[in-house]
Symmetry: C2
Amino acid sequence: MLKTYSMFDDILQRDQHAVAKGTILKSEGEESHSRMYVAGGWLAASKSLEDGEQQIIEFILPGETYDPTATDGKTSFLQIEALCDAVIVSIDKTSWAQLLRQDPELRKSERQREIAAQARQSERMLRLGRASAETRIAYVLIELCIRVSRQGTGFDSEFHVPFGQQQLGDFTGLSSVHVCRTLRRLNRAGVIRTGDHMDILIKDQHALAELAQVDIAALRDEITTDAA
Amino acid sequence: MLKTYSMFDDILQRDQHAVAKGTILKSEGEESHSRMYVAGGWLAASKSLEDGEQQIIEFILPGETYDPTATDGKTSFLQIEALCDAVIVSIDKTSWAQLLRQDPELRKSERQREIAAQARQSERMLRLGRASAETRIAYVLIELCIRVSRQGTGFDSEFHVPFGQQQLGDFTGLSSVHVCRTLRRLNRAGVIRTGDHMDILIKDQHALAELAQVDIAALRDEITTDAA
DNA sequence: CGTTCAGTTGAGTTGCTTCAACCCGTGTGG
DNA sequence: CCACACGGGTTGAAGCAACTCAACTGAACG
């Protein structure tokens, strides 16, 4: 992670720019010719139905890159939005190709990241299609916790996510009302404790993993790129 | 497609082998060191919850390749099953890397296929999380129709899928009973006609697209790799 | 000619949604 | 400093879409 970061140093100097919370960096169907590197802040990649229903497909965290360019090489197939104030570097297609060519390490680590993203997405689809609200919420809390506390061996058990229950619903395919109810139930059961502004404390990791129907250690290996 | 196919000719001669319908080619967590090329038949890539609920993540059609190997480089993160009698070629990691190195065309077309798969998956997640049973079923019929009739400009409007309503449910996150009801409703409304053994005839393409909340032409470009 | 398996249909249940009210912390203008 | 509006979270009540369970049909097959 840190190693990869340093590879962008020269680009970081030149092309990084700050974006405010709520900024839409790319819309569905809009022109797209570049990969974005997130130097700070969280992004959400989402799709919407005509009736306005939104589904968040992926969160993009600091240190990760993402390219929403479709097969036509010209347009974005999903919408990218800043969930909080963020710092983004745009790397155009040819520069990116050059970076990959120059640096086999980068190529390999980006490949790993793609596989990890694919594994995460599969886990989510499974629960989106087949699991209860409780399982979906428990799972997403664990996934986010792992991704946030990627440094160190740790499952930090306490973390913060820079968005609200509405977005958690858009990610898990639930209404914000039901997200709220489910979170409250987990609170009352003593499994988690939620603080102000989406601070999450996992009080009973074992119980949460049970609810999420997941093995935390195995999941960490699967959805993470850090060699242990 | 045909062009890509010819690239595998030498390998096809050597290493292809037939598998019977229902064969599990890879299980979750099982050893996996190779990419598979599907010379004939359909595969399903799926994940299961502990309680046995299954979600099909992707169908793999003839002419496509797939590699379920996780970030550890050793195990598969999902299950691969033959939906009908099929012919598979296993290409080990190093051979595949060599093929990609030798042939920039192959590398490019595989990259395109990955992007198309990602776009399809996003469309499905959107509907899995946010759309009604009717929309999900309508969408999957259109997606499959496009993928099946990829040759030619055509939306063939009539096609066959080699699996039952149960699997359609596992793909759309619905019970087989509800798949049946929804299909019947579409039949009665005159939008489609279903024949024996999952033969599908799309009678009213426009109405189906409306239900699926999708623009067929745009979708074809997005989820397909054939330059028009 | 019985068995099996996929699809079909009805009846009853339930988990999640929608709608609506209310609370509370924050920002804002008189 | 208070009044007010505003947005996010919380809770209750009511509705409904999809689920489960169970029975039946019909085609395929030995």
